[in-house]
Subunit: 251 residues, 2 copies
């Protein structure tokens, strides 16, 4: 049985704990969070000096707080991992063995997630610890990948485009429907199908729309209809980018 | 039994025909396409003068070709509809009764679609024809909406953001993974979940990421990592837009 302590109380910490509780090869023996959010099933502390001894410490806090928390762990020679996409493994204090366990998914506290589908990106300073992390994750998800800090940063950058930026485009869609007394529900099957299509094809081969067709008349009308300058800018820039990508493809 | 003729051979025409063939209240008696793509089950013509008499003519061709094709239909007083999101009903020749049947979905020939989930946006010059179109669509999908030309244009504009532009962001994610010897598959669960989340929440309430957190350090690193100037521009503009939306929310 691998014993773990989970540090943090945000979305990632909450979901990792949930996922770990489903596993029968690891045991969460303690949670640490400054907010003292207590639980019935696991001891919780808000005092870092009260951390218990465990095989793996999982730091799931905001990027800026990782280094500080890691340095405050009063054990040494333990395996300490963080869960961030954009922070290097070397942000962790070297008094402990270091690693990273990055679940590549968007988490909201109120949503249930199928953990078995999440890609876990793993990195460790030494091979034994890599294998320990692999053993820790495998009962939760079979999608385990060896990804170093540099590649993980690239992956996180890509995730910003396909998740954070995509969500903002959904928001613009929402604003356009709301402003015109239309239900956002009308767009939901389209959103779902657009995401489903990329399962089996390269996105650029699926590109459709006025920019792809170089339909200047429709694009001019669309720009006229957009109320906010930032929306016009986004429309112009993404239309140009679609035309350029298409150009690159033809070269 | 409502008799129809389908005009066009593109993605929308192909899928509408497929959907219509599943209905037992309407019969497709003929298809017209200039490419003379023949079918075993339905007579096909490439000669517009050979159009047969039917209750409804469905014009599913590119936006620019709608007016011309509509004027070439040698019948008058018939119900003629187009399927475009951005073209007004008045683009159709007034010698016939006019309407619009806009399926709000992204179609690819090679993908199967669950037609029953598609929102059909309907418009007609007179109420009897509206009811006829409703009767024609209802066996296929229960999501039928009365949407006039002006609102349909707004809906189409919103669709460009949540479908065409979103697909381009997927393409950037694809390019980042490819350039770094990472599999695009790693991003697929994230793409799926990002799209699934909006089913039950307003997108801006789901917004996460460096721009939302005003994490200047990560954003600066991301801009450094991006190779193409157009990708840097998109990163900057969408990050600003996320910050602005968040600002608007707080007002």
């Amino acid at each position: 049985m691998i014993t773990t302590v989970i540090i943090g109380s945000g979305n990632v910490a909450t979901h990792l704990l949930q996922a770990f509780l489903q596993s029968n090869t690891l045991k969460v023996i303690q949670c640490f969070n400054r907010k003292e959010i207590t639980r019935d099933d696991i001891p919780v502390t808000a005092d870092i000096s009260q951390l218990q001894e465990a095989d793996v410490y999982v730091i799931a806090v905001s990027d800026d707080a990782i280094a500080e928390i890691a340095s405050q762990i009063h054990f040494s020679g333990k395996l300490v991992v963080h869960t961030s996409g954009s922070v290097g493994m070397d942000a962790l204090h070297p008094k402990n063995r270091r690693g990273v366990l990055y679940p590549l998914q968007t988490f909201s506290k109120e949503r249930n997630i199928n953990y078995s589908e999440i890609p876990f990106c793993i990195e460790a300073e030494n091979e034994d610890d890599y294998l320990l992390l692999e053993k820790l994750v495998t009962p939760i998800s079979s999608h385990v990948f060896r990804i170093d800090s540099e590649k993980r940063r690239k992956l996180h950058l890509a995730a910003v485009f396909v998740c954070n930026f995509v969500n903002h485009l959904y928001q613009i869609g929402y604003e356009i429907t709301e402003a015109n007394d239309l239900s956002f529900d009308l767009l939901k099957p389209l959103i779902k199908e657009t995401a489903a299509k990329i399962e089996t094809a390269v996105p650029k081969d699926l590109q459709t729309g006025p920019a792809k067709r170089n339909d200047q008349k429709t694009m001019a009308k669309h720009l006229e209809m957009l109320a906010l300058p930032e929306q016009k800018q986004i429309y112009k820039l993404l239309s140009q980018a679609i035309a350029t990508t298409d150009g690159r493809k033809k070269l």
